[in-house]
C-alpha cells in the first residue's frame, strides 16, 4: 500500500508541475481517426523493430503484426499479455502468478514465464534478468502509455542478441503531447471475486521538452477456483479451493524528452514493475494460502541521438536495470505455519550501446552497433525460516560467477540491388543482411546472422523470404539456483544456450481497399532446447538441461477487414512442433511438443455506432486440444509418460465489450465508460499445470471502466 500512495502522490505532483503545459485531448490515433484510417494506411504504419529503423510493415524483412494503442483501448486489453493473445502464432496460458506465452508451437514449460521472446520498451530489454522471464501482466507497463506494440515472430538475435529467440515484442510508448491526460478506474467481478484498477496517464510538451507520466495499479482476486485433477488421479477434491489468489500489479512509466534540431534528441525514461501476487497454483506450493511473490523490476535509461551529418545517424544509450524480491515476500510450500521459505535474489544490470547508420538513399543503408552489458547477480538462494526468524540455507545448487558480461557487435545492410547496382530488373527487390557476434563470459562466443529478401509484387503486395538464427541464453536461476524444497528444481551450471534457425516465407498486402492480409509459413529447428526435466540420474531434483531438439513448422494467416461501421480481424494458426529427445527406455523418439494447441482461430469485431456514441467489441478464441505437461503425464502414466500422454480439451471463449465515445458528463471534458464481459459464455477450460493438476481458466468476469479525460 505504501507504494500505491507514493505513486498517487507523484501523480498529483506531476499534474501540478505541468498544469501549464498544453496537453492534447486525443491519442495519437483517436478512435474516430482510426475508423477513418483506410486499411492502406494501416499497412503503412511504420515499425522500427525489424531492422532497428523505420520501415512500413509491408517492407519490413520480418513477420510483423502491430497492435495500436487505439486497438488496446477499443478492445479493453488490460495487459500486454491479453493484447498478444489476439495475435496469430501466440498462445498465452497462466498460473495466476504470471502469463506464460508460447509462440509458434513451443512453450517454455515449467517455471518459464514468456522467456522465449525478447520483450522491450522502446528497444530496452525489460525481462527480469535473474531468470530471463518476461512478466507480461499489468505490471509490465501502464496500458495507456502504449502507442503500439510491434510483434515480430521469428529470430532476431542478429540485431538484438540474446533472447530474441523465437520473437521480439517491442512496446513503443507515446509521447507526452500525444496522450490525453486521463484517470481510469475499473471495478469488476472476476469469477465472483473482486477486481479493481486505477490508472493515470499525464503528458504534455513545452518548448522543446516532452514529458509523459503513467501509472497503473490493479487488485485482482482469482480466488474460488480449484485444481483440476490429472485423469485417473483423485488428489484434489471439491474442498481444495484457492482462497488467497490475489494479484496486485503496479506499473510506472515516465519519459522526459528534449529535442532540438541543432542539439539532437535526449531522452530519459524510467519504468518500474512491481509484481505482488498471492500465488496458489505454483508447482512447489499449491493452495498453501500463504504464498506471496513480491518482485521489483525496473530500469532507468538515458538516450541521446543525433544526425551528425546528412544521412549519418548515431545514437547512444546507457541503462541501469535492477530487480529483486521485496521484503514481505513469503514462499510457503506447505500448510505448516511454523516455517516458510524466503529467498535472496537480485541483479543490477548496466547496458551501454552505440549505434550508427548511414543511408545511401531512401532504402539502401548500412548500420553498425556495439553494446556492452554487465549483469551483477546475487544468485537465487532459498532459505527455510522458522517462527523464531532463523534462516537456514537450503541445499542444492552451486556457486557461480556473479558478473555476467556480454559484448556484442552487429552489422546490417539493407540493399535495393536495382538502385545500388543499376539493375532495373531487380527494382522491386530489397535485400537485408545482418550479422552479430556476442561474447559472453559464461557461455562464450555466439554468432548469429539473418538474410531476407522482400519483393514487391505490386504497390501494396509483397512477398518475403527470410532465414535467420537466434539464441536464448541460460539465466542465473537456471544455472545456479538451489531448491525451494527437497527434490525441487536446482540449477545446472553446465547449461549451454538454446539455438534456433528459422526459414520463413510470407505474402502480405491488400486485396482491395477493405481487406488486407498477412500470411506466412515457417520452419524452425531448435538445438539444445532447455527444459526443466524430470531427472533420470541418481537424484530426484528437477534440473534445467539441454536435452532435446525441436522441429517446428506452421502456417499463420491474418485478415483485417473494414466494412461498413465494422473493424474486424480474424487469424488462424496451424503449428506442428515435434520434439526429438533421448529416452533411456525408448531411445531416440520424436513426439509432439506439449502445452501448445495445434490450431488456433482468433477473431474480433468492433462495431462503431457514432450516432449512439458507442462501440461494441466482440472477440473470440478457439484453441484446439493441447498435450499436458511432462510432469503431469508422469502422474498419468508413470511408465510410458513419454509417449502415452493425455490432452486438455479444446475450448472456445467469447469476450464482449460495449464502450462509449466522447461523453460530456463534465462540462468541457470527455468521459468514457465501458463494460467488458470476459468469457461471456462461461466456458469451462483448463490451462496446463505442472504439479499433479491442471489450472482452471476463469469463468464469466465483468469489468466496468470509467475514464475521465482532463
Amino acid at each position: 500500500m505504501k507504494i500505491k500512495f507514493q505513486h498517487l502522490i507523484i501523480s498529483l505532483l506531476l499534474i501540478c508541475s505541468f498544469s501549464d503545459i498544453k496537453g492534447q485531448e486525443l491519442d495519437t490515433i483517436s478512435p474516430n481517426d482510426l475508423f477513418a484510417l483506410s486499411l492502406e494506411d494501416l499497412m503503412d504504419i511504420e515499425i522500427v523493430s525489424a531492422v532497428r529503423q523505420n520501415q512500413s510493415i509491408i517492407d519490413a524483412p520480418s513477420i510483423v503484426s502491430v497492435i495500436t494503442g487505439t486497438q488496446i483501448k477499443e478492445r479493453g486489453y488490460a495487459s500486454v499479455a491479453e493484447a498478444l493473445n489476439s495475435i496469430a502464432g501466440f498462445d498465452v496460458i497462466t498460473d495466476y502468478f504470471q502469463p506464460n506465452m508460447g509462440i509458434r508451437g513451443i512453450n517454455g514449460g515449467l517455471r518459464s514465464w514468456s522467456r522465449l521472446v525478447k520483450v522491450m520498451i522502446d528497444g530496452q530489454n525489460m525481462s527480469f534478468r535473474s531468470s530471463s522471464d518476461n512478466y507480461l501482466d499489468p505490471s509490465l507497463i501502464p496500458m495507456g502509455a502504449i502507442e503500439k506494440i510491434e510483434i515480430i515472430r521469428g529470430p532476431n538475435s542478429a540485431i538484438y542478441g540474446k533472447n530474441a529467440f523465437l520473437g521480439v515484442i517491442n512496446i513503443i510508448t507515446k509521447t507526452g503531447d500525444s496522450v490525453g491526460n486521463s484517470i481510469s478506474h475499473y471495478i469488476g467481478s472476476v469469477n465472483n471475486s473482486s477486481a479493481y484498477n486505477l490508472s493515470t496517464v499525464w503528458g504534455g510538451s513545452k518548448n522543446n521538452f516532452d514529458i509523459l507520466f503513467s501509472s497503473s495499479y490493479s487488485q485482482i482476486d482469482y480466488s474460488g477456483i480449484s485444481p483440476y485433477n490429472v485423469p485417473g488421479s483423485t488428489i484434489y477434491g471439491s474442498g481444495d479451493i484457492a482462497q488467497k489468489n490475489e494479484s496486485n500489479p503496479l506499473a510506472v512509466y515516465i519519459k522526459v524528452k528534449y529535442e532540438k534540431e541543432t542539439f539532437g534528441k535526449l531522452v530519459f525514461d524510467f519504468t518500474q514493475q512491481n509484481i505482488n501476487s498471492y500465488s496458489e497454483f505454483l508447482d512447489w506450493g499449491t493452495l498453501t494460502h500463504n504464498n506471496r511473490i513480491n518482485l521489483f523490476n525496473a530500469y532507468e535509461r538515458i538516450m541521446y541521438s543525433k544526425t551528425l551529418f546528412e544521412n549519418f545517424k548515431t545514437d547512444f544509450s546507457f541503462t541501469h536495470s535492477s530487480g529483486r524480491p521485496i521484503k514481505n515476500e513469503i514462499l510457503d510450500n506447505d500448510s505448516d505455519p511454523t516455517e516458510w521459505i524466503e529467498r535472496d535474489l537480485s541483479y543490477a544490470g548496466y547496458d551501454v550501446s552505440f549505434n550508427t547508420s548511414y543511408a545511401f538513399d531512401e532504402i539502401n543503408n548500412f548500420s553498425f552497433g556495439i553494446d556492452y552489458t554487465t549483469d551483477i547477480h546475487d544468485h537465487q538462494k532459498f532459505y527455510t525460516v522458522n517462527s523464531s526468524g532463523v534462516r537456514t540455507l537450503n541445499p542444492g545448487g552451486t556457486e557461480g560467477v556473479k558478473d555476467f558480461n556480454n559484448v556484442g557487435i552487429y552489422l546490417q545492410m539493407i540493399l535495393n540491388a536495382a538502385e545500388f547496382f543499376s539493375f532495373d530488373y531487380l527494382k522491386n527487390l530489397t535485400l537485408t543482411a545482418g550479422y552479430r557476434f556476442d561474447y559472453h563470459n559464461i557461455y562464450g562466443d555466439v554468432l548469429n546472422y539473418r538474410l531476407a529478401a522482400v519483393y514487391h509484387l505490386a504497390d501494396q503486395l509483397s512477398t518475403k523470404v527470410m532465414y535467420g538464427t537466434s539464441f536464448n541464453a541460460p539465466s542465473s536461476v537456471q544455472l545456479y539456483s538451489n531448491y525451494i524444497t527437497p527434490g525441487g528444481i536446482v540449477g545446472n551450471p553446465n547449461l549451454k544456450p538454446e539455438r534456433a534457425k528459422t526459414l520463413e516465407w510470407a505474402l502480405m498486402g491488400q486485396v482491395f481497399s477493405k481487406l488486407n492480409f498477412n500470411t506466412n509459413i515457417y520452419y524452425t529447428e531448435i538445438d539444445d532446447k532447455i527444459e526443466y526435466l524430470l531427472p533420470y540420474g541418481e537424484i530426484s531434483n528437477i534440473t534445467a538441461q539441454n536435452v532435446s531438439n525441436i522441429y517446428s513448422a506452421g502456417f499463420e494467416a491474418e485478415l483485417n477487414i473494414n466494412i461498413m461501421n465494422n473493424t474486424s480481424y480474424v487469424n488462424y494458426s496451424y503449428e506442428r512442433s515435434i520434439l526429438e529427445k533421448y529416452d533411456p527406455l525408448l531411445e531416440i523418439i520424436r513426439i509432439k511438443t506439449a502445452l501448445y494447441p495445434n490450431h488456433m482461430v482468433k477473431f474480433g469485431n468492433v462495431l462503431h455506432l457514432p450516432d449512439y456514441f458507442i462501440n461494441i467489441n466482440i472477440e473470440g478464441k478457439y484453441m484446439s486440444s493441447r498435450i499436458a505437461s511432462d510432469q503431469n503425464n508422469f502422474i498419468y502414466d508413470p511408465i510410458n509418460y513419454a509417449i502415452n500422454r493425455y490432452e486438455l480439451d479444446p475450448y472456445f471463449i467469447l469476450d464482449f465489450m460495449i464502450s462509449s465515445t466522447d461523453l460530456e458528463l463534465i462540462k468541457n471534458s470527455r468521459t468514457r465508460l465501458s463494460l467488458r464481459i470476459k468469457n461471456l459464455l462461461g466456458t469451462e477450460y483448463y490451462y496446463p499445470g505442472f504439479d499433479n493438476y491442471d489450472i482452471p481458466g476463469l469463468g464469466r468476469s465483468f469489468y466496468f471502466m470509467f475514464t475521465q479525460y482532463i
Binding site: 527455510t384 520452419y523 520424436r590
Partner: protein, 422 residues
Amino acid sequence: MILFISLVIFQLIGCEKLNEDYNKLIYKNPIKIAVIGDVSIGREVAENIFFATKMAADEINSSGGLIINEEEREIELIFKNSGGDPEIGIDVVNELIDEGINIIVGPTTSAVAVEMSESCVANNILMITYSATIPKLSYMNDDDLIWRTCPSDAFSGTIMAKHSIDSMQLKNGAIFFRDDNFGNSMANIIQNKFESLGGSILATSSYPAEETDLNNYNFGNELDILLQQKPQIIFAAVFEEEIGKITQDLWASSLYQDMESKPFLFLTEGGFPNELIANGQPDILETIIGISSSITNTPNYITYENNYIAKYNFSPVTYSEHAYDAIYSIAFAMQKAQSISPEDIKQNLRLVTGSEDLREESAIINVNEFEKARVLLLTGFEINYEGASGKINFDINGDPYSTFVIWGLVNKEYVEFSYYNL
C-alpha cells in the same frame, strides 16, 4: 490453397522430422519378462532399475540372444508400475497373467513384494525382486518361485547393530522408521539385535509412509521424540525420497542443536549418497553413515558402472546392479534349461549362479559375457555367474550371497569404511 502449399513445403523440407516416431522396437521370437518398479513413489530408483534391466536385455540380445531348442530368441521387457501400493501390485500380477507373462523382476518395495509374492505363488509365476529386503520373503511357502538378488534385512540389521556396538562403541540408540512393512520389520530386527548385543534402544518413532507428501512433511515432532532421549545413534529405516527433508528437520530441531555431541544417523539403505549431497542438510552430512549391498570397487561392478554410464550418460543407483543380475540369472537359467517356463527356470537358477555342488567345475561368467556363457551351456559346460553385485550363490531360500559395506560422506564424497560378508 496457401495452406495446401504450406503442407507440401513442410513435407519437402522436413518430412521425417515433423512426424512422430515412438521408435517401437521389434524383438526376434521375444521372451517377455515383466520388470516391476514402484515408480510413483520413488521414480529415481525405479526408473534407473528399469534402465539397468534394459541394459542387461540389450547386451543379451545384441550378443545373439538366447538359443533355445535351436531357435534364436530375444528378451523383451515389459515395464509396469506397482505404485508402492500392494493392491496395485496384485492388479499388475493379474494384468501380466492376462498378457501371458509369467516371469517377473521386481517389485521395488517390501510392502508390495510380500503381497505380490502370494499372488505369484498362487499363479505359478516366478518372481525375483532386486530391492525388497524384508526377511519374510525368505521363509515363505513359495514353491521356490520367490527369489531375490538383494540381501535380506535380517543380515543388514544384524551388521548395523554389530557395527554400532563393536566398531563405533555406541550403545545408546534410537530407531526412526517408516510406518510400513519394511520400516516396522527393520525396526524390529535392529532393536532385537542391538539389545541382544548389549545395546539399549532408548526410543522409537515412526512417520506415516502412505498418502503423505514426504518432501513437504514436517518430521520435527517424530524426531524430537527420539532426541529427548539423547541417543548416540539413530537407526533410520527410511527411503531416499524423504531423506533430504529428514536431515533438514533434524537440523532445525532445537533439541538437536542443544546436543553437545550430535547423534549419528545410521541409514538402512545404500542409495542415499547423491540424494544427501543434493538435498540433505550439509552441516550434518558427516554424521551420517549407512549400510549398502552395493560394493562398488569390484571389477564386475566397475565394468557394469562404466557400461551403464556409457549407455545412459549418468551413473547407476543402488539396487540397479541387483536388477541387472536378476535378468542375467533368469537368462542363464533359461539357456541352461532350454525352456522359458518358470518351473524349469527355478530349477536352474542355483545351477548357473554358483551352486555349491557345481561351483568347482563351473566356468566363471562375469558382467556382459552372455555369448561366452551361451556357448559353454550349449556345449554342456557349467557356468557360475558372478554379477555386477558380486557373487550370487542363491541359497535354499532364494536369497543371494550377502556382502555389505558401511559407507559415509566425507567432504561430500562417498567413502566406503568397512565390509562385511555373511
